[in-house]
Structures are given as C-alpha cells and as structure tokens.
C-alpha cells in the first residue's frame, strides 16, 4: 500500500486541542496550541530538519524525544541550543531552526 503523500499537518485529527497559541517559526506566524511542545509544532509542519550540524552540515530532527540526546536543538527567543522536545509553546514565541553551533548565528 503506497503511503499518503498529501501535504498537511501531522497532528492527529479528532483530538481536542487547547487554546490557539500563535508563534513564529523562522519569521513566519504559525498556529500552535496550548500544551504543545515546540517539537510538536515543528514536526507537525512536515519540515523535519530542526538544525544542521557543525562539522558536516547534516540535517537533524529529533531522536530520543525526552530531553536526553540534545538532537532536537532550536533557537527560541534568541537563546540557542534549546531542546524543542521539552519547551512548551508560549504566545509570540520566536522559534528558529539553527545552524550549529547556534551561537554564531542567533539573532
């Protein structure tokens, strides 16, 4: 059976979500929901590269999902190397995918 190639949200349908929380992802306004982590918002969008590594510019998404592996690094409100899987969304949060090591590119 061929997998669906439709674009669109990876959020599971039919689940009641919290209040809408507008955030910014790489400068664009995006609809998130109360109680979501930054990882959930980024992953749901289908763009799964959260950062690229310092040495080989390899794309990385997330690996352990529970705050242990430090693979899901993003820049939030100017602070670099935060774990997207642990950060809850807040209204107006500015999320940026980062190029490692992060601090040379955070603005």
């Amino acid at each position: 059976m061929a997998p669906e190639r439709t674009s669109g949200d990876l959020r599971t349908a039919g689940i009641g979500r919290g209040l809408p929380v507008p955030v910014y992802v790489d400068g664009k306004e995006v609809q998130a929901f109360e109680g979501e982590t930054v990882l959930a918002v980024l992953w749901a969008s289908g763009d799964h590269t959260l950062h690229t590594t310092a040495r080989t510019r390899e794309p990385r998404g997330f690996f352990c999902g529970i705050g242990v592996c430090f693979d899901c690094l993003v820049t939030i409100d100017g602070i670099v190397n935060l774990r997207a899987c642990l950060e809850p969304v807040r209204v107006g949060m500015k999320i940026k995918r980062q190029q490692d090591p992060g601090y040379t590119h955070a603005r």
């Binding site: 997998p3 669906e4 109360e34 109680g35 959930a40 997330f62 705050g67």
Partner: protein, 455 residues
C-alpha cells in the same frame, strides 16, 4: 512519585525535583494541558498516573517541576530552576532518574525521522502528533507493543513491526514467566490490536538501513541469525517516512554516579546500574535509589522500589523507627522480588546480542553530538586508548551536549571488540557536574535560599 508519597505519609517533609513539566516520568507521561482526549483513547496507565499525581498534593510534599538537578555537593543538591541555580538540603535523598532508549547505530540513523521507540511514543501519546504517516517499528522486546498501540491510536499507519527474536526462543523462558499472568494478558491485548489494524509482525528481522536524503523515505530490513547479525541477501525495502527503534533501555545513573554511589555492571543488559540493597540503600549513607536506575524492570517494579526507598529515606531521616519501616517495607519487598523475576527473564531473552553492533565500523557516526565516526574511535584504540575517557579526550566522542549518554555504550562496545576485553571490565567514566548542560546565566543567578526536607 511513589517514594515521595511513602515518605510524606511517614511524616517527612519532601521536596520533589522533577526535570519535566509534569511528574510521572516516561511511563505515566500525560497529555499536555489544554488537550481534550476521548476516554477510550487514554490508556489505563493514564488513570493510574493521575491517581499518583493526585497523591502528590499531600501537605508534606513540595513539588518543583522543570527543575534540573545538575549536581550534588556534600549533602546539598544543586537545582537549575526558573533561570536560577538553587541548593536544596535534605537529610535523605532518593534518586529515581529513570531510563532512556538504548541508542543503536545503523546506516542512516542520524536522518530526521529515525527515532527511538520512546520518542515516537512520547510525541504520539502526549502531543498527538504523528512521528510519521507510515512507520516501521524495529527492535526487540515487549516495549514495542505499547509503542505500536500509541502510534495506532494517533492514527499512524504501521508498515511492520520487526522483532529481532523468534517465538521459538521464548519457550525455554516460559518457566520464569510463570505467575505473571497480567503481563501475558496485556501482551495478548496489544497483539490483538496489531492484528485488528492489519500490522504485520516479522520475527527474526532487524533494521539495517534508513533511506533518504534529507529525511527518512524508506527502510531496509533483513533477516537475522540468533546473534542478530544480518543475513546477506535477505534485505527488503519498505516505504516509510519514520522509523522507531526499541532495543531496550539505558539507565540515567549520572547523578548517582557523580554523588559517589557504587555502580554494578549487568552482563546480560550490557550496561551499568546503581548498586542497591533490598531496602534500596546505596553505599552512600542517606542516598537511596528506585526505579530503572537499579535495573530495567518496568513501572510496576519501579513503584514498589519507590515505596521501599521512600520508607527507607524516612527511616534514615528519623521519621520512622526501624521496626515500623521494616513492617511497611515487607510487602513491597516481596512484590519487588516477584516482579524482578519477570524483569530478569525479559532481560535474558531480549537483551542485546553481538550482531546489534555490527555497523560500528568505518564511516558510521557513533557520537551524534560531535559527529565522531567509528573509524576515528578505532584509530584511537589502535594508537593505545584503553578507556572511554581517553577516547573522549582524543576524538571528542562524549564531549557534546548529551554528555556521552548516546555514544558511551557504543564506544564501550567498540573498545571491548577491538581490545578483546569484557565490556564490564571497562570502567564507567567518571561523571562530573553539571550532569546536564546548565547555562552560565543560570549559574550566575545563584539563589542562596536553601530549603530543607525532612524535619
């Protein structure tokens, strides 16, 4: 949670420091605030988790969440909380830092979309986001079953569940699994769910490659022999957009280790745990442990150990007489022994086998944080390195943000293989605070308020 409740009910003042936003660890992880989910979609664990969390409202318990314990100095525990570093004093300390999925490298494993089974489950279960539209689940052991169910509930299509062991290998262990009927019926229920959803289970297979350029686009699986080595020529490609792998767990023993607690190497699990007595005491007076850090054993066992540890901590702090503590510990100690038998049997059956490490060669990325390849580590060993630490000093493997949690086990396997020594003979590297990265800005915001527990 169970340790806190046991200690609080014995009269002790308890401070609980939980790194996550809500207590409950991985097993009792709950959906984020704001979600409303139909009751049928919630598991029975959710109800038990909520019940335990309710008990944390005990007047003797102070709960700090998003509180990272980054070290311990003498009898003070250092906590990063709300941008400040605080020191917390307690007469006794219970460490229950849990476990994480064992990382196993294979070609393509750093691609976005290759996840751990636990990570896939967490995203699906607590955030209701699909890790992938069509997924492959690969690994060994019963944990894959509840993960599969969480994914199905989140409307993920599972192309296949790939289990490294074969059913005929389970038969010799049926004796040790006797008396564990609830576990069997649970497993049966999980499997029935998979059958209903039309998910094929392939025994005696494993993942050998993740395909894709910028993200996962497919998976290659292969048949394995009894040592989990891939059998050449048996490869098959499956179209998926995410791969979740579950090959058991490693314990978060760093806090205990850096506090001076003695560790023990488990031969079959091929990893280190914290040594403890039947009353959950460590070799350090006043430090007690519970849960997966004493041995991977599941939530029921962790709850019993927590109860024992909470009682022992309260006894140590003078809130319970030895007699009262012994009386109350009796039942959970017995339960623990019973549950431990099952955990040990699972360990023997589903523990890692040599073929799991067959990809740790050449250009395979071993240290994800610092992007160190297997060949760099091998060269270091060929030049005389004999410890994990010297490999870290030379190659930077283990020097990144995760502080070696992901690569340490595999670096050990490479060392054991290339030097032809037992894995257990390679000492667990010394752990120094901070046991997880803490921003300098947090350290500089020193909050000299210190709180005591146990009056």
């Amino acid at each position: 949670m169970s340790a806190a409740v046991a200690a609080a009910e014995s009269g002790a003042h308890v401070i609980v420091l939980d790194e996550y936003a809500k207590p409950g660890g991985q097993f009792f992880k709950r959906t984020g605030d704001g979600f409303s989910v139909a009751p049928e979609s919630l598991t029975r664990e959710h109800a038990r988790g909520e019940e335990l969390r309710g008990k944390l409202n005990h007047p003797n318990i102070t709960m700090l969440t998003r509180a990272l314990v980054w070290g311990r100095f003498d009898d003070r525990v250092m906590v990063a909380h709300e941008g400040c570093s605080k020191s917390v004093y307690g007469k006794a300390l219970v460490i229950a830092t849990g476990a994480y999925d064992r990382p196993v490298a294979f070609p393509g494993w750093t691609l976005p979309g290759v996840l751990t089974a636990g990570g896939a489950q967490t995203l699906a279960k607590s955030q209701w986001v699909k890790p992938g539209r069509r997924m492959l689940l690969a690994g060994a052991g019963p944990f894959l079953l509840p993960v599969a169910l969480s994914l199905l509930r989140a409307d993920v299509s599972i192309a296949a569940l790939v289990e490294a062991t074969r059913p005929n290998e389970w038969l010799p262990h049926l004796g040790s699994l006797w008396g564990q009927w609830p576990r069997f019926s649970e497993a049966w229920e999980y499997k029935a769910n998979l059958r209903r959803a039309g998910v094929p289970t392939l025994y005696g297979h494993k993942i050998v490659r993740a395909l894709g350029e910028e993200k996962v686009e497919g998976a290659v699986i292969a048949k394995v022999d009894n040592e989990w080595r891939a059998i050449p020529g048996s490869e098959r490609t499956i179209e998926v957009d995410a791969i979740a792998m579950g090959y058991g767990f490693l314990a978060n023993i760093e806090l205990a280790a850096s506090s001076g607690c003695e560790l023990r190497f488990d031969e079959r699990a091929r990893t280190w745990f914290v040594m403890c007595t039947p009353t959950m005491a460590t070799n350090k007076p006043g430090i007690f442990v519970a849960g997966e850090i004493t041995g991977i054993g599941g939530s029921a066992l962790a709850l019993e150990e927590g109860r024992i540890a909470g009682l022992s901590a309260a006894e140590f702090a003078g809130m319970l007489t030895a007699r009262a503590a012994d009386e109350q510990r009796g039942q959970p100690i017995w339960q623990r022994a019973h549950l431990d038998r099952f955990a040990s049997a699972l360990n023997v059956l589903f523990g890692p086998r040599p073929g799991l490490w067959e990809f740790l060669t050449d250009d395979m990325t071993v240290c994800r944080c610092e992007e160190v390849k297997a060949k760099e580590i091998a060269a270091c060993i060929a030049n005389g390195a004999t410890t994990t630490k010297s490999i870290k000093d030379w190659t930077r493997a283990g020097m990144g943000l995760c502080e070696g949690r992901i690569c340490r086990g595999m670096v050990g396997e490479i060392l054991a293989r290339d030097r032809d020594v037992a894995l257990g003979s390679i000492p667990f590297p010394s752990v120094r605070p901070p046991i997880k990265p803490v921003p300098f800005s947090t350290l500089l915001q020193d909050d000299s308020q210190s709180e005591s527990i146990a009056s």
